[in-house]
């Protein structure tokens, strides 16, 4: 068998390879017991280098010269590279938070950064995947490392339970996904999205039931990772139980990568099923999931007393808003999701960074009472948290507002007005629970001890998050325009 | 291809021969061990003790067949059967001579394109017999024996697989007959060093795989009574013994086939007796005898490894050495040849 001459395209693998190489370097650092902060700096250098490669690919997309390789199994177009950049941003923020906090938490075991970089490698592969096998492998690489990281605090019941729960449910989700891949392959005879979409929309295609079953299982498997209700149940426990730096990483990177993959599948495979006789069913199911996610996430967050757990439920709620973009299943939706996830990465990482500056060494002490009078004691932290929370709530002029606006627009233009209205209604609920924390910080008297000094890297992380949130809120056009002008491969099914 | 009936008869004959060989291997082993330890060994029944195996057989058949009451009955009975079945099945793929050389029939049971993998696969299932037996006995020493056995098998299968890799790369086939016909040593002198290393690693791994001294930890009698065999008696115990010896014979035949030209005889003898190197079975049996002697010799010579030494030897040395041999072989094939 001979392969086409342009089968191997190394350039699109750039970011993933760079991350992998730096994972090896930090792993060697671990072997030779190099100082931890040197390891963290090396990891950051790796993320930066990968970002340069990703930016180069993004620029290629601007010129309409986006590439794909390995028979459309790995894509280097604008959504893939934009998501890669978001993943790298999230990884960098998580590394900064980790560097500040790991030794205080007693968790700076040498394999931490290698695992985080490997996980990010998997996330990049997942976001760039153009076929179901690559998707599965990227997902597993990413997840396997995060399972280990979630259980990082040994001897703590919560953390070990988090790791175990995440692992077992994650394995179950992978089983669903693999079964879905098998059925989809059975129906379409291909693994790559382009081939599948072509097969499903071919005139003689008649395995509609099988294809639908496969699609439903794919949706369920990825639904676990992005935490659509009712597949969200692991999330609050895992986010709360895992050490805060790991939660930071999980909440931004894993979510971004899983949504990137889901969006790609939705706009190709799912979209091509839409024209068939059973095509109506899939959007209806997705719609039900999203509706449930919006309600469960927002009302769940409303009921929490711990801030970390509240943020966990808010992560579920945001999965619902992002789901609206998936439902739109077109380029507009994808672009909206890219913007939303960029904003989400900044604000969530910011919120968790502030949280990790406040909580105890055992990750406890996130009760809302703890935030009382924070504004008086630590004005910088309080203001930062207030900004990212307002942004998470979707208030102008912050990035979260623009993100929500774009997502609602995408949903409405794709005809899902009712869900968009539900999204807007639940956003009002969201304001309540975010505002409660702000109220505590600014309008309650402090009866708490003073908080320890802020580590410099944590300060950097918070500043990046806050500045990014504001900048994206005021000048959304810069990043969104870049994404919008890009080139999308595998579009138009 | 032989007709199905002939294949069946050959299979039957092979089983009989292997089991008969097992009976006399016990005698040979005891006599040899006696010799090496300056004592007689069994020499009373018949000339040179030749009737001893028959007496042993009668004894084990008529002993009480105890099924431990706390045992998991089904698995307890199943385990020895698994052991012997797969031990016998593994030998079937090993060729005993060139095609049609055995009175016009083929001197093997099955000729598979993936014969090498077949042998590995079937022997890898055989280990279930040992560690299921140990578990089903529901007693602590057998359980320890079976845990040791599974850990050992998993560890040494790596060395085994990696050292076979060198042969596979050189031969470019998984067919055992093709490997014999090619003779891996004849390809290039450049390949001799890695091949010699792979050969050594393979022999060591094979000894570990068949649980022989110095790797007989699963039944180490000084530590854990008789390991997985502790609760077995009578015919079930005899089945395990059979399996062990049949596995030894399979391992010897497999090593000969992969590394020492299998059923081929030395061609130097051809001028005197034409066709002697193609005589079926004789040469394979001769080479097997060599390794059987080695197994016994090692048993008389070497002390048993400690458990941690076993694990370290397997993972830290054998694995690396076999890996290096595979890498060097690959490099030689890619860059020199």
């Amino acid at each position: 068998m001979t392969l086409p001459a342009d089968f191997i395209v190394v350039s699109i693998l750039g970011p993933a390879i760079v991350m992998l190489v730096f994972a090896m370097i930090t792993l060697l650092f671990a072997v030779f017991q190099v100082d931890r902060s040197a390891t963290a700096s090396m990891a950051l250098v790796g993320v930066g280098t990968a970002a340069v490669f990703a930016l180069h690919l993004l620029m290629k997309g601007q010129q309409g010269a986006a590439e794909a390789g390995f028979g459309l199994r790995y894509l280097g177009d604008t959504p893939a590279t934009a998501f890669t950049l978001v993943i790298l941003l999230g990884t960098a923020l998580a590394i900064l938070v980790s560097e500040a906090d790991l030794s205080r938490l007693g968790l700076d075991h040498p394999e931490y950064y290698p695992l985080m970089l490997l996980s990010a490698t998997g996330a990049i592969v997942l976001a760039s995947a153009g076929d179901l096998i690559t998707l599965l492998l990227g997902l597993e690489i990413m997840s396997l490392a995060v399972y280990a990281l979630a259980a990082w605090r040994q001897g703590s019941r919560q953390s070990e339970e988090a790791g175990m729960k995440y692992f077992l449910l994650g394995a179950f989700a992978s089983a669903l996904l693999i079964y879905g891949i098998a059925l989809t392959f059975g129906a379409g005879g291909r693994f790559d999205y382009a081939g599948l979409a072509a097969a499903f929309s071919a005139p003689g295609f008649d395995a509609h039931v099988l294809a639908l079953l496969g699609a439903v299982l794919l949706l369920a498997g990825l639904g676990f990772k992005v935490a659509f209700a009712p597949f969200h149940q692991w999330l609050p426990d895992v986010y709360t139980g895992a050490p805060t730096p790991v939660t930071t990483f999980m909440s931004v990177v894993v979510k971004t990568a899983a949504f990137a993959a889901l969006l790609r599948i939705a706009s190709t495979v799912f979209a091509s099923l839409g024209a068939g006789p059973l095509g109506e069913l899939l959007p209806i199911m997705l719609g039900i999931l999203i509706g449930a996610t919006l309600i469960v996430g927002n009302f769940g967050a409303l009921l929490q007393s711990g801030v970390k757990r509240m943020l966990a439920y808010s992560a579920v709620a945001h999965a619902g808003y992002l789901g609206l973009a998936v439902l739109a299943a077109d380029t507009v939706g994808t672009n909206a999701a890219i913007f939303y996830l960029t904003a989400y990465t900044l604000m969530t990482a910011g919120a968790f960074a502030v949280l990790s500056a406040i909580t105890n060494a055992d990750d406890r002490g996130d009760e809302i009472e703890r935030f009382a009078g924070l504004a008086a004691r630590r004005p910088f932290l309080a203001a930062s948290l207030a900004i990212v929370l307002m942004s998470l709530a979707g208030l102008p002029p912050f990035a979260g507002f623009v993100g929500k606006l774009l997502v609602f627009q995408a949903a409405i233009s794709a005809g899902y007005v009712a869900l968009a209205v539900l999204g807007i209604a639940t956003s009002v609920v969201a304001v309540v629970y975010y505002a409660r924390v702000i109220t505590y910080m600014y309008f309650r008297e402090s009866d708490q001890e003073t908080i320890r000094p802020l580590a410099p890297t944590l300060r950097i992380a918070v500043v990046i998050a806050v500045v990014g949130t504001i900048a994206l809120g005021i000048l959304p056009g810069f990043w969104y325009g870049l994404v919008e002008r890009g080139q999308v491969l595998l579009a138009g099914f | 291809m032989d007709p199905l009936g002939v294949t069946f008869l050959k299979a039957l004959a092979l089983c009989t021969v292997l089991l008969g060989a097992f009976a006399y291997m016990t005698l040979i082993e005891r006599r040899l061990l006696g010799r090496m330890q300056h004592r007689y060994g069994p020499n009373r029944l018949g000339p040179f003790g030749l009737l001893q195996p028959i007496a042993d057989a009668i004894k084990s058949v008529f002993k009480e067949d105890i099924v431990v009451s706390a045992a998991d009955r089904f698995v307890y009975v199943l385990a020895p059967m698994i052991s012997i079945t797969f031990a016998l099945a593994a030998f079937g793929a090993i060729p005993g001579g060139p095609a049609g050389s055995l009175f016009g029939f083929d001197p093997w049971i099955v000729d598979l394109d993936i014969g090498l993998l077949y042998v590995l696969a079937v022997t890898s299932i055989g280990v279930y017999g040992i560690f299921l037996g140990g578990w089903a006995s529901n007693s602590k020493y057998p359980l320890l024996g079976s845990l040791r056995s599974s850990a050992q098998i998993i560890s040494y299968e790596l060395g085994l697989g990696l050292s076979v890799l060198s042969v596979i790369m050189i031969a470019g086939t998984l067919n055992l007959r093709a490997i014999v016909e090619l003779n891996v040593w004849s390809v290039s002198p450049w390949l001799w060093p890695p091949l010699a290393v792979a050969f050594g690693a393979f022999v060591i791994s094979a000894i570990a795989e068949v649980n022989r001294t110095p790797f007989d930890l699963p039944e180490a009698e000084q530590e854990i009574v008789a390991g997985y065999l502790t609760e077995y008696s009578s015919i079930k115990w005899a089945l395990y013994q059979m399996a062990e010896y049949v596995n030894m014979m399979t391992a010897s035949a497999f090593i000969s086939t992969l590394f020492l030209g299998g059923y081929k005889g030395p061609t130097v003898l051809e001028p005197w007796i034409p066709g002697i190197s193609d005589w079926p079975i004789v040469w394979l049996v001769a080479k097997m005898a060599l390794f059987m002697f080695l197994f016994i010799w090692l048993r008389a010579t070497l002390p048993r490894l400690r458990y941690d030494q076993l694990m370290r030897f397997g993972w830290v040395y054998l694995f690396e050495v076999a890996l290096a041999a595979a890498l060097v072989t690959g490099a030689v094939i890619a860059f020199v040849l």
């Binding site: 096998i133 280990a148 059925l183 129906a187 | 599974s150 998993i154």
Partner: protein, 185 residues
């Protein structure tokens, strides 16, 4: 076709055994049986190489490890009881899902490919064919599997071998670190 039907029944029974048997070792053995039957199915499809790999990898390595862990934990039946209410819900969902998939497969209008044609396409189950696909079309996936295995290894080592506690004697790393401590690196 009859062979396949028999094997399929054996496999389904084996799979049910995995779920329904209470004793973990029995369940694991049931899984071994299912996997070996799958290998036989491969043989009937002339995919000998796949069958051998199936036996070596699943039967000889993975399931041995499973059983090893089960035996090491020495689970008793009592420890494995689940709450009845959840179980019935799970059974219900499982049956519905299985029925849905069965219906999906039965409603599939396409004809099964001719067995001879399949055998022909597999070229007698030669490894070369698998190599061509694995190292050709799916080379990226092949490389990624390597990364996946590395990740799993690092994660497992990180969780098991914590450096703040003295490594247990007998493990290779422990001996290596003991050597390091003596300064003989």
């Amino acid at each position: 076709m009859i062979t396949f039907a028999v094997l399929a029944v054996v496999m389904v029974v084996g799979a049910l055994g995995v779920v329904l048997l209470r004793q973990p070792v029995h369940a694991a053995l049931s899984l071994v049986g299912t996997l070996l039957t799958l290998a036989v199915v491969f043989v009937t499809l002339q995919a000998h190489f796949l069958a051998a790999i199936q036996v070596i990898v699943y039967g000889g390595a993975i399931m041995v490890l499973f059983l090893f862990v089960i035996m090491l934990l020495n689970l008793k039946e009592e420890a494995t009881k689940t709450r009845a209410a959840y179980r019935w819900v799970a059974y219900g969902v499982g049956v519905i899902a299985a029925a849905a998939i069965a219906v999906g497969a039965l409603l599939d209008p396409r004809q099964a490919p001719d067995a001879l044609a399949v055998s022909e396409a597999l070229r007698g189950g030669s490894p070369e064919l698998i190599a061509e696909v694995l190292f050709g079309e799916f080379m990226l996936a092949f490389q990624l599997v390597g990364v996946l295995l590395l990740t799993g290894m690092v994660g497992a080592v990180a969780l098991v071998q914590r450096h703040n506690e003295p490594p247990r004697p007998g493990t290779p790393l422990a001996d290596a670190s003991r050597r390091d401590a003596r300064g003989t690196r």
